[in-house]
């Protein structure tokens, strides 16, 4: 309860706005089939690049599709994908990082080498290569994003675990007879939940931006999927005359990333037990 109060406290006014943004964006994405006034993929060549009007709230795009409808649908794939990627990365990172950090020894050495190798590989280029190898599509983006980000996650988790391993409550449970499995599941993992949640939110934000970047290079989500990153890219030739075409989806990306990061920030403050301490005197 204190945590929740602290969380709300550390959210601040910006945080509250962020939560509202997140709810609106997620909600409208989920409810897109009911909210959207048009089929997002319905092409109307006679109405190409229509301006903003009562009929088309955000005008139409180069194929006469209703931009507002596309915008409503535009978060679905990215957000779901970002979520899936982050969950997968988190699981992989959690398993690898925990085992390496907890047991140390050769297991840690091997993991460390693996982490260094994957971190030493150039991120976006690597992602391009994987996406190219596996062919375009959601699945290969998923794999590319997971492969390029598990190492970061594992490293952070490993560091956390090594810190926790030194705490005396770990020795305490061993003295009572807890085996490794028990210690890991009941003691190690729950105690890094804070940093993990924070990392999780930061990652989601970053993955959403990565998806947009890949789409920018033509390797992201395949047409005609309505997607914010793709929409920004598609609007580039027209944005001088139709600024809203690039502003609306770009703003959506920025806002959702902003909101998620902000909430992660507040979570960090709330979950950080240090903030509860009094300062020098404690």
């Amino acid at each position: 309860m204190i945590r929740l109060r602290l969380f709300l406290h550390s959210l601040g006014p910006i945080g509250v706005i962020s939560i509202v943004i997140l709810i609106v964006l997620l909600g409208s994405s989920l409810l897109a089939p009911w909210l959207a006034p048009y089929d997002p993929n319905q092409i109307r060549m006679s109405e190409r690049l229509a301006p903003i009007s009562g009929e088309h709230w955000l005008g139409t795009d180069t194929l006469g599709r209703d931009v507002f409808s596309r915008l409503l649908y535009g978060g679905r794939v990215s957000i779901m994908l970002a979520l899936a990627v982050t969950v997968a990365t988190m699981l992989i990172g959690l398993i690898i990082g925990t085992l390496a950090g907890y047991f140390g020894g050769w297991l840690d050495d091997v993991t460390q080498a693996g982490i260094h190798i994957f971190q030493g590989l150039p991120g976006l280029s690597f992602m391009i290569a994987i996406a190219g190898t596996l062919g375009p599509g959601v699945e290969s983006m998923f794999i590319a994003l997971v492969v390029t980000s598990w190492a970061d996650f594992s490293r952070v988790v490993r560091g956390e675990v090594m810190k926790i391993r030194e705490e005396s409550y770990i020795e305490g449970i061993r003295a009572i007879g807890g085996n490794h499995m028990y210690t890991l599941i009941r003691y190690v993992i729950p105690n890094m939940i804070g940093p993990i949640i924070v990392l999780f939110t930061v990652r989601i934000g970053r993955v959403i931006l990565s998806i947009a970047s890949l789409s920018f290079l033509g390797l992201g989500l395949q047409p005609p999927t309505p997607d914010w990153g793709v929409m920004v890219n598609d609007a580039r030739p027209f944005f001088r005359s139709y600024f809203h075409l690039i502003l609306a989806p770009g703003l959506c990306i920025a806002l959702i990333s902003f909101a998620i990061n902000c909430i992660g920030d507040a979570l960090r403050d709330a979950l950080d037990t240090k903030t509860e301490k009094a300062g020098w005197l404690s």
Binding site: I2, R5, L6, H9, A278, G279, W280, L281
Partner: protein
């Protein structure tokens, strides 16, 4: 040393704390860490502040040089050489720090900057307009006076290269560097083994003799307090419940808490005071010790006792048992059964 004490009595006190109250504003509510504490300190005196964990000793110590964090609200008066430090300008107070009032924090392990050489950390505290070289010489001499082996080598070292006792000496040197007239040492012996503790006690004595400064030693080690101090103040839950000369206090502790504390010492039978100390967050009526007190009176429950002076003007006690106005010996009418054991 005797003559100094005598002179001190005559003179105006160097430091007098009157009705000091420190309240912290935290997200969970107000914490009244110091609650109307009063204390006086004379020139050249070593005064000890004892009491259990969390009773507000450190907060009191920090409030003198104005080092409390921003969340603290301070009221009352702290008169140092006639000046009220609480109403002094921030910058004037800063100038007093180090030169007039020095503070040696508790926990030597973390109180030195880990990435700065010892030499720099000491010379920083020397305010007089000397050259760097001169300052270093002063620092080396200070360390030497404090029995540091190879003082000039130490200046080149980093804190992690020193043992706990050596760090304590460095901290003392920093405190003494500005030739202050008041030195406040917070828990200088906490966590040290007997040998090192012995050294540290000697060290503080040496600082006192060398600089002639008055020293306020905050500690919860009664042995240290007894062997080092001229006078002692006892704190409980933010209040100074008893103060007086060391001999008097140890020989005849007047406050029930003080005597309980004495009895808790391993050498004195180790009889614990039952119960736990009160929360600092709640408002209190009556005496704060009443729930654990075996000599509780009826009025203790609703009336807070004042600090009453005993015949010996230096000895003061915050307990109705020693309220001279109500007649010293007759004053135990309704002794209640101690309930704190439950």
């Amino acid at each position: 040393m005797k003559w100094m004490e005598k002179e001190a009595v005559v003179m105006e006190p160097l430091l007098s704390i009157e009705q000091l109250t420190v309240t912290f504003h935290t997200p969970k509510g107000k914490v009244k860490a110091v609650d109307g504490a009063s204390l006086t300190l004379h020139q050249g005196q070593i005064v000890g502040l004892i009491g259990e964990t969390g009773s507000g000793k450190s907060v009191l110590g920090l409030s003198i040089p104005g080092l409390l964090p921003g969340t603290a609200e301070v009221s009352g008066a702290i008169r140092f050489k006639g000046q009220d430090l609480l109403i002094l300008q921030k910058d004037c107070l800063r100038k007093l720090r180090g030169t007039e009032i020095a503070f040696v924090p508790q926990n030597p392990a973390t109180s030195l900057n880990p990435v700065m050489r010892i030499g720099r950390q000491i010379t920083e505290a020397i305010k007089a307009p000397f050259s760097r070289k001169q300052k270093r010489a002063i620092a080396a001499r200070l360390l030497e006076e404090l029995n540091m082996p190879k003082p000039s080598d130490t200046l080149q070292q980093y804190p992690f290269q020193l043992s706990g006792g050596m760090k304590q000496r460095v901290l003392a040197a920093i405190g003494a560097a500005g030739k202050p007239s008041l030195l406040i040492a917070d828990e200088p012996t906490k966590g040290l083994d007997a040998l090192v503790r012995d050294q540290v006690v000697g060290l503080i004595r040496r600082v006192a003799t060398h600089t002639g400064a008055a020293i306020l030693v905050i500690t919860h080690d009664l042995y240290v307090a007894r062997s080092l101090c001229d006078a002692i103040g006892v704190m409980y839950a933010g209040e100074v419940v008893e103060s007086g000369s060391t001999e008097q206090l140890f020989a005849q502790p007047k406050h029930p808490y003080t005597s309980g504390l004495m009895r808790s010492m391993p050498g004195k039978g180790m009889i614990p005071i039952p119960g736990v100390s009160p929360s600092l967050m709640e408002e209190h009526r009556g005496c704060k010790f009443q729930s654990r007190c075996s000599q509780r009176l009826g009025e203790c429950e609703w009336k807070a006792p004042d600090l009453y002076a005993l015949q010996d003007q230096d000895h003061k006690v915050r307990c109705f048992l020693h309220d001279s106005s109500r007649g010293r010996e007759q004053g135990v009418p309704e002794r209640l059964v101690a309930t704190a054991e439950a």
